[in-house]
């Protein structure tokens, strides 16, 4: 199971690649571009309001309601008691709990006193430290240790900010927002994670910046996600540093528009301790940046050094022998764009198959490997290719741009919550819930709406109160179950709706 992905398949590739590359090893005119001059990348996400400038926050205005949790108290209890729109300040101390947040506008903000943080300690018994599904969630200044699942996991929360957290040995992923839009993951220190330290899964409009990630199987992984910028991170001593993947079998089928820029991707040679069967278990330990089936990935301005297999590997699903298939996903890495990067001492102890590839391109005696590409990668480009020791990029075009300076970020301004008019809510609640028992003029489980209208005419509040605590009124009908799970405004809205319908 732990067999490296690329073993075997690189071997297979060799059979036909060798023929393809032999004979055109020698002459290519050297084209030298300056990345401080020249055109800037104009592709990528265009939906952001450029006039908004640099977006520093996506979670909206900070709530004014503040509660404080002290050592010995429960963060979860505070979350459960909090109305939406609450800052929960967590004082230094140790907290053994799983905190879940299923409402909007909750911020869990640690208070750091003289270097002491609030510590969530799962003691290797608890699954996840923080699970959120609410929108506008913020987690800051926490220390998270010893969980089995994730440090911080999001399920569909939008406009999230996860910053300044220290996460150590906390299971499968350190920080894992999934199925969310518009989020920032920055200034976190994440280590000893069995899969990816930071994993952006099936999410859009993401910034991952200024994080320090190390001692994990994967450093930062962008998977089945779109419009992500990963910049200014220090990614070191993982098995693989930065990953842009399409994983087959997920409901979101592509990874498009990722910028890896200005990161330090250094010495990612950690033994691969990924779980058997996990996708990352196939990463050859010693990989700086790995692009698999992702499209429009720009790699620019990174310092990529001392990664023993290769600085950059670009591949497809067919060449990853532990990867399943997905007929709905394009298996190739299309339109990869490699701009200027500082590459030092990569590939010094690479895998046999990569050596064979080097040989096949006539790069006899190469002591390093900066870029290895196997599998189709149509529409890709590169600048200043002469500076790298590379295989499989001879057919890359010259990029028509040299930098991404005009792409500030892909974040969106905070979106205000949708306003729902009471009338609309009343109608939908009636049709979605009440209509199972009541129709306008016929007998179902409950009496017809017409009969209810006759009773309550101008008394919607009376009807709203009745449905919260019904009593048996009619011999020939069963007693109505209480609808007290609807809040008072919703009950009134549905009562008003019922009293005015005409069919």
């Amino acid at each position: 199971m732990k067999k490296k992905i690329f073993l075997g398949l690189l071997g297979v590739t060799l059979v036909f690649v060798a023929g393809a590359f032999y004979g055109r090893i020698s002459k290519q005119d050297v084209v030298i571009s300056s990345s401080t001059a020249g055109a800037s990348y104009s592709g990528g996400y265009q939906g952001a309001d450029k006039s908004a400038g640099l977006i520093r926050s996506v979670a909206g205005p900070a709530p004014t309601n503040i509660v404080v949790v002290k050592d010995g108290e429960s963060i979860l209890a505070a979350v459960k008691a909090a109305p939406k729109g609450t800052i929960i300040r967590v004082m230094p101390g140790t907290y053994h709990e799983t905190v879940y947040i299923d409402k909007d506008d909750i911020r869990i903000i640690g208070v750091i006193e003289h270097g002491r943080r609030p510590v969530l300690d799962g003691e290797k018994k608890l699954n996840d430290a923080i699970l959120y599904s609410g929108n506008n969630f913020v987690a800051e200044n926490l220390e998270i240790r010893n969980y089995k699942g994730n440090g911080i996991m999001g399920q569909a929360g939008n406009n999230f900010e996860i910053r300044n957290n220290v996460i150590v040995d906390s299971g499968v992923y350190g920080i894992f927002p999934q199925l969310g839009q518009n989020g920032i993951v920055e200034h976190n220190v994440v280590s000893k994670i069995a899969d990816a330290a930071i994993y952006i899964g099936m999410s859009d409009n993401i910034l991952v910046a200024h994080n320090d990630v190390f001692d994990s199987v994967a450093g930062i992984e962008i998977e089945n996600s779109r419009h992500a910028i990963v910049e200014h991170n220090y990614v070191h001593n993982n098995s693989g540093g930065l990953l842009a993947f399409v994983t087959p079998g997920l409901p979101i089928k592509d990874t498009v528009d990722v910028i890896f820029r200005n990161n330090f991707v250094v010495g990612n040679n950690h033994e691969n301790f990924g779980a058997p069967g996990s996708t990352v278990a196939g990463i050859p330990a010693g990989t700086g940046i790995l692009v698999m089936a992702a499209d429009d990935v720009v790699i620019e301005g990174n310092v990529i050094s001392d990664n023993k297999v290769s600085g950059i590997i670009i591949t497809d699903h067919a060449h990853a022998s532990n990867i399943s298939a997905d007929p709905e996903s394009d298996p190739n890495s299309d339109r990869v764009k490699i701009l200027d990067n500082v590459m030092l001492n990569n590939g010094y102890d690479t895998i046999t198959e990569a050596k064979a590839l080097l040989l096949s391109e006539g790069k006899v005696g190469a002591k390093n490997l900066d870029i290895a590409r196997v599998g189709p990668s149509p529409g890709s480009c590169i600048i200043n290719r002469h500076q790298y020791t590379a295989v499989g990029v001879d057919d890359f075009a010259e990029c028509e741009f040299t930098n991404t300076a005009t792409t500030v970020n892909y974040l969106l301004p905070p979106v205000p919550p949708r306003e729902i008019k009471p009338g609309e809510r009343g109608k939908v609640v009636f049709l979605g819930i009440c209509s199972g028992c009541h129709i306008y003029n016929g007998r179902m489980i409950g009496p017809p709406v017409q009969a209810i209208q006759a009773l309550y005419l101008d008394n919607p509040q009376g009807l709203a109160d009745y449905i919260a605590k019904p009593v048996k009124k009619r011999e020939d009908y069963p007693e109505m179950p209480p609808q007290d799970y609807l809040d008072p405004e919703t009950r009134l809205a549905v009562a008003q709706y019922m009293l005015q319908v005409t069919n």
Binding site: K80, T98, Y100, D102, K103, N127, D128, L131, S133, G134, K148, N150, M153, G154, Q155, A156, N158, G171, Q178, L179, G180, Q181, M202, S203, D204, T247, G249, L250, P251, I252, A275, P276, G277, S278, T279, S324, A325, P327, R418, R425, K427, V428, L431, G432, I433, S435, G436, C437, I439, Y440, G442, R443, P448, Q450, A451, A454, L455, Y485, D487, N503
Partner: protein, 380 residues
Amino acid sequence: MILSLVLVTAAAAGATEPASTGFTLNASCPPGFEKTEAGVCELRTLYQFYDSLEGRGLGGTRTALPPHRDGFTPQQIDLGRYLFFDPVLSGDGTLSCASCHDPTRGLSDGRARSVGIHGTDAGRAAPTLWNVAFLKRFFWDARADSLEAQAGGPLYSPREMGNTPKQLLSSLNGNKVYRRLFTEAFPAATGRVTETQVFTALAAFETSLVSLNSRYDRYVHGYDAALSDREIEGLNVFRSFVARCSECHTPPLFTNEQIAVIGMPEPVGQPFDVGAEATLNSPKLKGGFKVPTLRNITRTAPYSHSGAFTDLRGAVDFYNKGRGNAVPQGMHLYLHWHISDPDLTETEVDRIVDFLGALTDETFMPQRPARVPSGLALDK
């Protein structure tokens, strides 16, 4: 006033069931649907107030549903209901759609594998029809891409309903009541009943089978007390990355509709089922099946594509026994990466089962007609 309304009620009560003299089609939309000015039924649910990434209808609690089918007329839906319950649709007049998709059995049949015409083992379990309006793929191996495309499968399979297109149309066209009802449901059409109309009416009825009012849904919409402490605990195990259930059984439908190779066992004596390998012609998907919804899951035992698990706890426990625990010897399967070794405690497994019980809602249970136009005896 009230007295007269009661009388109206009594009179209207007949409208939902055919009077003894004949069959009529309901002119009102089923529960959960609004009749628009155009006279078609559109679904209304609180989930419409939420959004989802890329409009895919997958995520966490307050996430929108996937795009769905609706917009049929009340008459088409009600005609579909008669067809659904009428054994005239089977080759020998003994089986209706409801034989294997019985509303009182979670729109399934309570069997490990369905029993088709002449007592034939149909090979796979009948999937529930709750919330099929939201699905894009049908059958365990995802071989149909619409409800209409699905309909012909069981109808014409010699292991299921054993009918033929020719016999189906001749029996419907030979029935005066059906001819009238089809004209009512498809007023623009002229001439004989067509297969397309049959499939449309069945699809129309099936899209009305909506279950979105479980206690879980009440929790989602803001009522924290809808779930017990044990169920909340179960929800958190369910969505944790140790158990990873919600990675594929993703809310709000509790399926992500993907093909997953999970390596569930076959019941003793049952041959290995290659599943989607055959339909998608992809060896890497050998043993792959469409992720089923978990809504109303407590109503549809036994579990798995061929009924290997008699109860829910057994099905949940399978995942806890470790990756590949039931893969036949010598067979290589590309098991889904989420199939892991979660090593949950027995209590955690119990809590997941508790939580799954909160996904039950049958308030929009369809009404079984007292009689069907063919005059055939209704299947029990």
